[in-house]
């Protein structure tokens, strides 16, 4: 493969992977394997490295691709393996024990308590970080 095609393939993988991840967030298998985009960045950086090695005359596109994909690899790896990690602090939740009760207001402004549902129906509590 020529250097030019390697550069194109490298950039397509590097830019396509995060876009595909974002588009497929609803698919649990994709969402729960965020290391996939880190692997894609590594593949893209390797291809850019080959492009640099193969380049005969015009070398800057290959070097540019290598620089860009290396940055994405470092940034992506840091984000996934460091930035997005949640500290494993002890929780108050024990399977088989009563869930702590609480009262909050819902989106319509009505109060909602966990105790409201006792004897009525099971509850799935989803704690999420908010909608940014």
């Amino acid at each position: 493969m020529t250097s030019t095609w390697l550069v194109i393939l490298s950039l397509a993988i590097a830019l396509g992977a995060p876009v595909a991840y974002a588009l497929l967030l609803r698919v649990p298998v994709v969402r729960n394997h965020p290391e996939g985009y880190v692997v894609a960045f590594a593949v893209a950086a390797a291809l850019a490295g080959f492009a640099v090695a193969r380049a005969r005359t015009r070398r800057w596109p290959a070097w540019t691709a290598l620089a860009l994909t290396s940055l994405l690899l470092i940034g992506g790896a840091w984000f996934n393996f460091v930035g997005a990690q949640v500290p494993r602090t002890p929780t108050a939740l024990r399977v088989g024990e009563r869930a702590p009760d609480f009262t909050l207001t819902d989106a319509a402004g009505r109060p909602a308590s966990l105790a409201d549902y006792r004897g009525q129906k099971p509850v799935v509590l989803i704690f999420y970080r908010g909608y940014w």
Binding site: A84, V86, L93, L114, Y117, R118, L125, I126, F127, R129
Partner: protein
């Protein structure tokens, strides 16, 4: 908010009627209402502005937010009719959420 959509889609209509899904976040009510309107899932969105409930549950990620504020740790808890915790999933990477089919299995096992 993809994880919120997944669970709603996985539940049948009868199951939706038989279980309450409470989505708890520090978002203000207006924002949650906008999200609720957009998703049309029938969840109750509860506003835990000061993380009081997240704190009581031990689900706070200190300085984990984009501007260094405390945020909840993403977690899903299945509570049975008697108020007893039956299933818990707490993410160790905030990009990762339980697979809706796992949550569904826990709900169906009640």
């Amino acid at each position: 908010m993809a994880e919120l959509q997944g669970l709603g889609a996985a539940l049948s209509e009868a199951e939706r009627a038989g279980v309450e899904i409470l989505a708890v976040s520090p978002d203000p009510n207006e924002r949650s209402q906008k999200l609720a309107d957009g998703l049309r899932l029938g969840y109750r969105f509860l506003s835990d502005r000061d993380l009081a409930v997240a704190r009581r549950y031990g689900l706070v990620h200190p300085r984990g937010g984009p501007s260094g504020e405390d945020v909840p740790r993403p977690a899903t808890v299945v509570v049975d009719r008697d108020g007893v915790v039956r299933w818990v999933s707490i993410s160790s990477n905030f990009q990762v959420r339980p697979d809706p089919t796992e949550v569904l299995r826990a709900v169906r096992a009640l």
